[in-house]
Symmetry: C2
Subunit: 190 residues, 2 copies
């Protein structure tokens, strides 16, 4: 349904620019050329709009992570691929990622708990990748927890400043940031 998609897209952009609380149904309606109340012919509620955006985002991120990591057994290569997927998603879907990171407070139960669980799972995957590298003697960091937080935060930063028509291409950012990650964990060359 094209209209519903338009509405979700408009909501996404407004949530990014103004925040969930500060965005009114009338704003979203105006962005697609209708009045606020007419939105209810297409969506259940404002909260539902946010929940759908955040759920889709976290599920896509987890799916991409699994795919990225599946192709290799080498700890360095696995972390590199996971970081590439992470950063690429945050550049390519910067609005979704931005809202996904910043509007958790706007979610009401049970959505909030579900999203937090998915986030925790995602974070754990990264921590395990770092731990695997340490166990194999390939990474050299004091705290795997700190290193994985740092890696995740780098991606989130991307969603805050990346712009498709900026001077840096998506690939340039992805490759640079993957390098940063491997340097950060002190990955030794093979």
């Amino acid at each position: 349904m094209s209209r519903s998609d338009d509405i979700r897209a408009a909501a996404l952009e407004l949530f990014t620019r103004q925040g969930y609380e500060a965005t009114t149904m009338a704003d979203i309606g105006a962005a697609v050329g209708i009045r606020g109340p007419s939105l209810y012919k297409h969506v259940a509620s404002k909260q539902d709009l946010l929940a759908q955006i955040m759920t889709t985002t976290m599920e896509e991120l987890l799916a991409l992570h699994r795919t990225a990591v599946a192709g290799s057994d080498d700890p360095t290569e696995r972390l590199r691929r996971a970081t590439e997927a992470h950063v690429r998603y945050h550049a390519r879907h910067r609005l979704e990622a931005f809202v996904g990171n910043r509007e958790i407070r706007g979610l009401v139960e049970p959505h909030r708990a579900r999203i937090l669980a998915l986030r925790a799972e995602y974070e754990n995957h990264f921590r395990e990748l770092v731990n695997a590298g340490i166990a194999a003697g390939r990474f050299h960091v004091t705290s795997a927890r700190l290193a994985s937080f740092a890696i995740l935060d780098l991606g989130m930063g991307v969603s805050a400043w990346y712009s498709e028509d900026g001077e840096l291409s998506e690939d340039a950012v992805v490759w640079q940031y993957s390098d940063f990650t491997l340097r950060l964990v002190g990955a030794t060359e093979l």
Copy 2:
């Protein structure tokens, strides 16, 4: 004036936990044991409360940065000290830093423009530190802009997850993250 300080502290915590928009004057009042309207005997407005928090935060951050950097001429040492100050501030004043990063949208002109200018200045300082290291042949990165973004984002991440009673001490986080930064820019040993 102790009461005004209490109010600012209560507002800071509520803005962190619920966000500026979602926090009501009645909430802030309740946190200090009075009713919403009574707050106006101590503060000008809710907006003023936010503006004061953000302005103070950015000014402190800039002042600490200047002090940190002043003590050395060596590019590596300067970047290390700047990162230490950056991360330490984000750990020690995590509420201020958190709100400072996330509630810019809630600011109204002319506060918004002023804060954005201070942030831009802060970002520039880091980019210049990285550029200085590159020029001296001590750092090895493709894009100084990307590297400085990464460094700044690391600090912001800290303000999102750091906890004083967590397993990691402030010093541990500061030192680890400073290491991360120097690794990230490919700083060569002297």
